[in-house]
């Protein structure tokens, strides 16, 4: 009896240590798969906004992702609905669509057609208008807007400015 209780204690103690070890190694395994510090640090891109032409989509690169920059024409700006207008990024008096160029469905890059002023994602048939708002499912929401900070005539991607924070707070982007 004395023996068996001693064995029982040994078993429980061993089991306890093994459980702690298992949790610790699972934690290490989880952390090993996290993005590396160098990957996280390379997360800023600065754009000079004076170079863009109206209704001409330029694809920039930030964190390996394509970033759509579209300078809106006067006609686009005047015809915008409130939903489209609230997605505008205003820099130096011009209206821009700035968005991560990945379809919010499964991450393909939608193609821009300047003639119809909208985007078509060939993978699953999703469509977006010139402001990046979704016009045809399956995409669940408009194109995501990357964190940005307006710095005079420049735009810094990856830094959170007040304009971006406002968009995030009102739920315009995720």
């Amino acid at each position: 009896m004395k023996d068996s209780s001693r064995r029982g204690f040994m078993g429980k103690a061993f089991g306890g240590f093994a459980a702690v070890g298992a949790v610790a190694s699972l934690y290490a395994m989880k952390k090993s798969w996290d993005p590396l510090p160098s990957v996280k640090a390379a997360g800023f891109t600065t754009l000079d906004m004076s170079a863009y032409k109206e209704n001409e989509l330029v694809v920039e690169k930030w964190r390996g992702k394509p970033i759509f920059v579209l300078k809106k024409t006067a006609k686009m700006v005047s015809s915008q609905t409130p939903v489209q207008a609230e997605r505008d990024v205003m820099i130096d008096g011009s209206h821009y669509m700035i968005a991560i160029g990945l379809c919010t469905h499964l991450g393909c890059i939608p193609a821009y057609k300047p003639s119809t002023e909208d985007f078509l994602c060939a993978c699953h048939g999703g469509q977006f208008d010139f402001s990046g708002a979704v016009t045809k499912v399956p995409p669940p929401r408009g194109l995501d807007i990357p964190p940005f900070k307006i710095d005079g005539n420049k735009l810094v991607l990856g830094e959170v400015g007040p304009e971006y924070q406002a968009m995030k707070d009102t739920g315009i982007t995720l």
Binding site: D34, K65, H105, A122, G125, P138
Partner: protein
């Protein structure tokens, strides 16, 4: 220690130490196979042969492949294809086998469904087989990444995005799986590890389980006969080889298996030497470019049916339907409520269910390849709904089936 005597032969020497005669009996000469089974039962052996071809060709590819985003594409398309003597052979064997293995798996699966080989007593054979299917799918996907072409990159992008769970926005999970914001170096190296080590290990373990699951319930047969293997094997060992319903696996039954494997290998190497192109997507001969999506993204043919179930719905419903399609086959032994272990042709409505399911999956496969526009989109939608309805109908129609 056991009692050892002076060995009379090399076999006897080994037998005293490794019990090879016993192993030989269990694995081969007294592993009993029913006589009334047709060539469809040889698909297991065909799969073993294909797996060996994949393993050997993979080892040769591994020696020159470089898992680096800057060099991976050229190591496959230049070094292996042009510089390494017979590198093209290993690549074409590997590519064709990776595609054909799914054709054989599907034949193997539908044979099992048709003859009721998943029923009572054989559930573990079915479940371990479906686990193998899932692991093979992961193996195929991780291998598809390695040449780091356009289709590799975008397949990696799309499939890992599935893990964000639609409206759950679990982007942290996607970034964790990739080790980066987009598929990049960390992604390539870890999928390389999965493809050459972890998943093949899992596959080999599961093949062991799949074989072990056969030992007690034994292989089913063409008529669903319940054979008393003890009685029949005694009859055979007593010399009544013609009267017994069973034969030895080796060398008697294996000669038939090898005949089928032989015919298969003729077909296989015809594909390798003259028609390897079907297993190589032209889009994947462009190097990966994170800033340019190919016009149409579609998976290899063997994933098209489940891809098409994902596609016609909004994102959350699509993901649920896709998840359903991935796991529902595992539940087959429990969803089929009829006790009849006979071919589908002798059963009630199940006969129609079987062919409806087969045709539906072929339609889904065809629609999955076509662009998601117009009438094809509608046909795909109807076929996806039909797939789900068929599974819901299965327990009901089999419950009312008469006992044969």
């Amino acid at each position: 220690m056991a009692n050892f005597t002076k060995a009379t032969s090399i076999k006897d020497w080994l037998n005293q130490r490794l019990a090879i005669e016993k192993v030989e009996k269990v694995m081969m000469s007294e592993y009993w196979i029913p006589k009334n089974i047709n060539f469809l039962w040889a698909m297991g052996m065909v799969l073993v042969m294909t797996f060996v071809l994949l393993l050997v060709s993979g080892i040769f590819l591994l020696m020159y492949y470089q898992p680096n985003v800057a060099t991976a594409f050229d190591s496959v398309n230049y070094t292996i294809m042009r510089e390494v003597d017979f590198g093209w052979l290993w690549r074409h064997v590997h590519g064709v086998a990776a595609s054909v293995v799914f054709l054989i798996i599907y034949i193997h699966m539908f044979t099992g469904i048709y003859y009721g080989s998943y029923k009572k007593g054989r559930e573990m054979i079915w479940i371990s087989g479906m686990l193998l299917f899932v692991t093979f799918s992961a193996e195929a996907f991780s291998g598809y990444m390695l040449p780091w072409g356009q289709m590799s990159y975008w397949a990696g992008m799309v499939i890992t995005n599935l893990f964000s769970g639609g409206s759950l926005h679990a982007d942290f999970l996607v970034e964790w799986i990739r080790g980066d914001y987009v598929p990049a170096q960390a992604f390539l190296t870890r999928f390389f590890m999965l493809h050459v080590l972890l998943l093949p290990l899992a596959i080999m373990g599961l093949i062991g389980l799949h074989f072990a699951a056969l030992r007690i319930p034994h292989v089913n047969n063409q008529d669903g006969d319940e054979i008393d293997f003890d009685v029949e094997s005694k009859k055979y060992l007593a010399g009544d080889k013609a009267g017994s319903k069973v034969i030895r696996f080796a060398n008697d039954f294996m000669s038939k298996d090898m005949m089928v494997v032989g015919v298969y290998l003729v077909f296989f190497f015809y594909l390798v030497f003259y028609n390897y192109g079907f297993a190589m997507d032209p889009v994947n001969f462009d190097p990966a470019d994170g800033l340019k999506t190919p016009a149409h993204i579609y998976p290899e043919w063997y994933f098209l049916w489940s891809y098409e179930i994902l596609r016609p719905f909004s994102v959350d419903v699509g993901l649920i339907a896709f998840g359903f399609a991935q796991v529902i086959f595992i539940g087959l032994p429990f969803l089929d409520r009829s006790p009849n272990t006979v071919p589908a042709s002798r059963r009630g409505l199940f006969k129609y269910w079987f062919w409806a399911m087969l045709v539906d999956m072929i339609v889904l496969t065809a629609m999955g390849k076509l662009p998601p526009e117009g009438i094809f989109s509608t046909i795909g939608f109807v076929a996806a709904i039909a797939f789900i309805l068929l599974w819901i109908a299965l327990p009901i129609i089999t419950k009312f089936e008469k006992k044969i």
